[in-house]
Each structure stands twice: as structure tokens, then as C-alpha cells.
Subunit: 151 residues, 2 copies
Amino acid sequence: MSITTDKFKTILKENGVKVTTQRILVLEALSSCPDGHLTAEEIYDLVRAAYPEIGLATVYRTIQLLLELHLIDRINLDDGFVRYEIGEMKESRTRHHHHHLICRQCGKVISFQDDLLEELEEKIQRTMHFTVSDHEVKLYGYCEECRRKID
Amino acid sequence: MSITTDKFKTILKENGVKVTTQRILVLEALSSCPDGHLTAEEIYDLVRAAYPEIGLATVYRTIQLLLELHLIDRINLDDGFVRYEIGEMKESRTRHHHHHLICRQCGKVISFQDDLLEELEEKIQRTMHFTVSDHEVKLYGYCEECRRKID
DNA sequence: GTCCATGCAAATGATTTGCAGTATC
DNA sequence: GATACTGCAAATCATTTGCATGGAC
């Protein structure tokens, strides 16, 4: 479950930054597309529908702020666009990351949950003396429809 | 073990593209830094030491070619630079990927081998009907030295 | 000799920044 | 009312591209 507007306002105040229409609209655009993986330009277009005077620079500055507040995550699918998505399950202390399946054919992105890396992280800790705090996993391949077309 | 210059020349010929000094030097720069994770600019600087007249555009074009020939891999550490590294173990048919530990403190990148994702890929195949062909894993955290400094 | 490859400079495209006006607290 | 935030336009920076020259086969 993603963050509500009210909770967002509280977080902004707690961090000593101002609550502005633009910030709320950017957050809401990201919230409204929970599986969106939106680019900055896409967020800009979405917000502009409701608030035409917003500038692209403000969108970038707001994205930066949301990243610093850990309310959104950056995703790089190596297609030349950086994307952002709302961070989910902020309440739980455990890092229930979700990861991405990326179809090489149609570019579709499917999210999935898995904690299988726990074991790997522990192993890394032991053998490499490296403390893992976070991870990012991308699986490339072919989605069901595209595989059917290829066969 | 990474590719030799002779093997590289053969691959170029097999693919109907010309063997040029520039291409060889770029490949050798990447080979000489097996753990380098070089940026295009860094490759440019390395090659220029031996061959000052090379242009940055040629470096980019060669990187593109090497990627298409699957001789190098692209790595994105989300620090604003795209990096490249020589592909290892090209001879074995199995995908013995290596992954990266990235220190959030000093930025150091440590490579490691692991096939732990085999299990996950199989599960994805079964439950999501998605055929995984490749994967990329990045583990963020703190290396031994930096952890020591923090404590 | 034929083309592909190169070097240079200009173009591109995402992101950033400077600055004067504006809105929040 | 002070100051952080915004919008705009200009700047930046990695990467790409057009084109005339040069090199590989």
C-alpha cells in the first residue's frame, strides 16, 4: 500500500520543507500508477493535465526530493530512460523489495516479490566481509505473449 | 579468462567488419582492466595514451560494436556514468554471470560469482510464465574498510 | 578501387542550474 | 515578511550523428 497525501504532507513538514501543490501532484501521479515505472517526462505530462503551468525542472527537483525522502525508487531499465516508482510498504521495517522482469521483446516490466536473496546476502557477509544493506535485481527474458509469438 | 587480441581479430573478420587499430586498442584497454568497470571517457584516455589521434566518437562506436558482439557488458551503477567491462568466460555455454557489490561509502565495486539465482529463475518460470534468459544483480552496502571507519 | 571506419564538429536529449517572481509558513 | 519554491530559459554533459577524409581488404 502506498503513501497517502496526508501522510506525505506530514513527512514534508517533518523535514522542514514546504507543502506545495506541485509536490503533492507529482507524488499523486506516481501513486496513481503503482505499476507505472514512470519517466520524468511521463510524470510531467500527467501532472500537466491537472496543473498546466508546472515546469519540467520542478518535476525533476521534486523527484530528487522524493528520492532523498525514500518515498520513491529509481529504476534503470537500460533503455535510455530513468524511471521512478512509488516505494511500497514503507511501514514495515523489513526490506521487502520487489524486483523486475523485463521483456526483451516488448519491453514490458513485471514486478515480483522475492526474498530469496537473503541467503546470498548472508553468504556475502561471511565470505566477502561486505555488509549488504540493499539490493537490486533485474531479470531479462521473454514474457508469455512474446514467447508464444516467437515459437 | 578474457579474450585475446588474435581471437578478437578472428571475431571481427567472422562478423564482416574491419580489423582496425582503434578497435584493437579499445578491446585491449578493457582487457587490461579486468576489474576496471571503465567509463567511455576512461577508455578514451587509456587508448589516447598509445594512440593520441583517436576520437571519442570512435570509442563510443567501438563500445557499441563490442556490446553487439557480446564481448563486453554494460554496467550501470547509478552514479551518472555508464561503465563497461570485458566479458569473461565466453567459452563456456553456461551463463556464469558475475555480479557487483557496490560500496555506498567509497563507491568501490567488487565482483563476485554466484549461481544462486538459478532457483529463483526456475520459480519465476513456473509461477509467472516468464522465460528468464539473463539477469543482473547489484548489492549495495559497505565494504570492510568503510564499515570499520563508520563503527 | 570500393566501402567501411574514423575524426572532427555540430546536434541531440535528458537533466541541471541561475535568476527573478511567487507562494508557503 | 522572510525565505524556500517555482517557472523559464540557458547551461551542462554524456552520447550520437553528418560528412568529408583515410584506411582495410
